[in-house]
Symmetry: C2
Subunit: 398 residues, 2 copies
């Protein structure tokens, strides 16, 4: 297959955006173009734009986001499509960009993932997110994502001896990492004692969806991230010869039952396993080759479960690895060096692209205080629905 | 590039759907799978599903439509993404399916275009459709699609001598064709005199957006259409050896300024021209090779203008060709044999796929009473926004 890689990255500061949705999208895009040295205007080299977003229509009441981006960036007549795969919309957009170049129809593709979701908060926000559940069997009965995550966590507690404190350990780690990431939503270090001490836990870390507490899940964020993809065989001709090329070595995606209750083993995340396997096989690597990973921790339990499904740790031992510091910045398998969804924030459609931006920074050696020494190969897992559609990406500079 | 074609088609009856949105989507999909003889379940051969829809989120409050389809059809763990490009979402989904197979990542891709838009009618429906206009420069000032189409028509009248009656001629033709299409929304023959006679025109064909009248624009429809794509080199191995293979010979798409007022020549549809050129070039054909075409006549003026932009007729002469019956079923260049958006209906995301389904029927010689004799090569033009993002497809059995 044709070799495809990344030559430019962009990332807005996640949090509450003070600018309109479209401005945020274009900000990330322009950063990625600037980073790569790509021009706008008639002689631009971008063949296609993909925007990954879940709620541009539902929340921001905008259709054709990708077309608007092309016009605003002055890169007409580039092709343009908007892609939706719930919170995995960003990685899906990258997957489509990869296909577009691999197919030979394009040589250079701009990907932006974005969400302006703080326009809806509270009940309305929870309801918006819940539209990713099955429309007939889940959503209409009032099911929500925190409810599923709560039940999933309880299963893992019963089955593997995981404790509430393990979730807090992941949370504390990701908050610490986010403090080193200028683009993160939350820059506050969290002390384990403060969110786990039974004497005041209900004040500092209240229950949201039993057994999950506030620090066991991500905040609601606005944000956008972008990457510029090129075909390796056209990198020089298109003027990106002096840019570090981070290769997309593997790309995988897979679906599981949309209705969570229909899963044979409800404590498994089958689509994570299958998508990672597909990405590993395409890249010709295994979990042992991954130096740094971004795993989709919308809920802290997911980071633990995914770290098992992608083969970093044995089934039921992910929480032990977290306890032992193995997933910390200085551990054997650093996970969510960016701060993860927990503390970097989780603007749904932006997340998959943001994960890849973090890996590019790590593999370029540009991650500053959170740099993993000698990182050459990275894995990103972007999780749609409650694991019903997962996209995994392996990047490498080897 | 790897050869990609269609081995299965599905199409619901357009109109007001009596079933939920997801059922309609799956109905079209199953028809396409049945038509191709594709299985569901573990041994299914579908690698990827793309659903093209503009309003699943905004109107039907469903995210991750494509994931839900995979589960309902029992074709897990097929990959799945939902694609949005306004009313060109359907053709965009086909374009991505084409890329997915051409890239080598997939061998067999299921495409469904769908819209359940009669859930919002009247003001709310017009507003939903208007979200495809530029969010900052058009939508928020109350611009609507009929308003743009009205202004565009006036320009063409002033510039080319086009008359109101020419729009009615196109309308009458498309209504007549739709009467021969069992899937069409409207099965009523329209008599030219009845919608043009000044004595009672304001009763039979009232003004909607001056100079446009009711019969100069399409109805609001629910509907879904589907196609099953395969790689030609895997057609036999996947069990489709006995199916007629309709090749996607050319695929093109292009964007124009999102803000209509910014166009250098506002009476041109540049993205139609560029996308058709791209599709022709890939297919190695020209307008003279097209035996039958589906052009996006959300407004009748668009059929006329597009028939010029794709090279069937000289600039400013499309309405003359329509007057002379050249685009009628028995004319030299039959356009919208399906009934077009005008009378077959226009469920936004479904339309691009529906157009291709009609071409497949024509090229297979299965179009019944509306069959164009000896049709071997067809062109579909699917138009997003007010021409800001257009996708053109050339199909052939040559």
């Amino acid at each position: 297959m044709r070799s495809v890689g990344i030559v430019g990255i962009g990332h807005t500061k996640f949090g509450k955006s003070e600018v309109p949705f479209m401005d945020m999208v274009c900000d990330a895009a322009l950063q990625a173009m600037d980073d790569a040295g790509a021009k706008t205007g008639r002689n631009n080299v971008i063949d296609q734009v993909f925007v990954g977003t879940m709620g541009a229509g539902m929340v921001n009441r905008i259709s054709g986001t990708a077309s608007a981006v092309v016009d605003t960036l002055n890169i007409r007549p580039a092709m343009a499509e908007t892609v939706e795969n719930g919170p995995a919309s960003g990685a899906s957009a990258i997957k489509l960009g990869f296909m577009a170049i691999a197919s030979g129809m394009c040589d250079c593709v701009l990907i932006i993932g974005a969400e302006g979701m703080r326009a809806v908060t509270g009940w309305e926000g929870t309801d918006f997110v819940a539209t990713m559940l099955h429309p007939e069997s889940e959503y209409k009965y009032g099911a929500t994502l925190p409810a599923f995550a709560g039940m999933f966590t309880r299963l893992c507690m019963d089955k593997y001896g995981l404790e509430s404190k393990d979730l807090s350990i992941v949370s504390v780690k990701n908050h610490a990492n986010a403090c080193k990431n200028p683009c993160a939503h939350i820059h506050s270090r969290v002390v384990l004692e403060r969110i786990t001490n039974p004497a005041y836990i209900n004040a500092t870390n209240p229950i949201v969806a039993d057994p999950l507490r506030q620090f066991d899940m991500c905040p609601v964020s606005d944000g956008a991230a972008a990457v510029l993809l090129v075909a390796e065989d056209k990198k020089d001709a298109l003027g990106f010869g002096d840019k570090k090329f981070v290769k997309i070595a593997g790309m995988g995606s897979a679906t599981d039952t949309h209705v969570v209750a229909n899963r044979e083993v409800p404590s498994d995340l089958l689509a994570v396993r299958l998508s990672a396997k597909m990405a590993y096989e395409m890249a010709g690597v295994g979990p042992e080759d991954i130096d740094v990973a971004e795993l989709h921790d919308a809920f802290q339990i997911l980071e633990i479960a995914e770290s098992e499904e992608v083969g970093f740790f044995k089934r039921g031992e992910g929480h032990l690895a977290a306890r032992n510091g193995e997933t910390a910045l200085t551990g054997k398998k650093p996970v969510n060096t960016s701060g993860g969804l927990k503390a970097k924030g989780h603007p749904l459609g932006a997340t998959g692209v943001s994960q890849v931006v973090e890996l590019v920074r790590q593999l370029r050696g540009e991650a500053g205080e959170r740099q993993v020494e000698g990182a050459k190969t990275g894995l990103a897992v972007n999780f749609g629905g409650f694991g019903n559609n997962v996209v995994s990406t392996v990047l490498t500079t080897k």
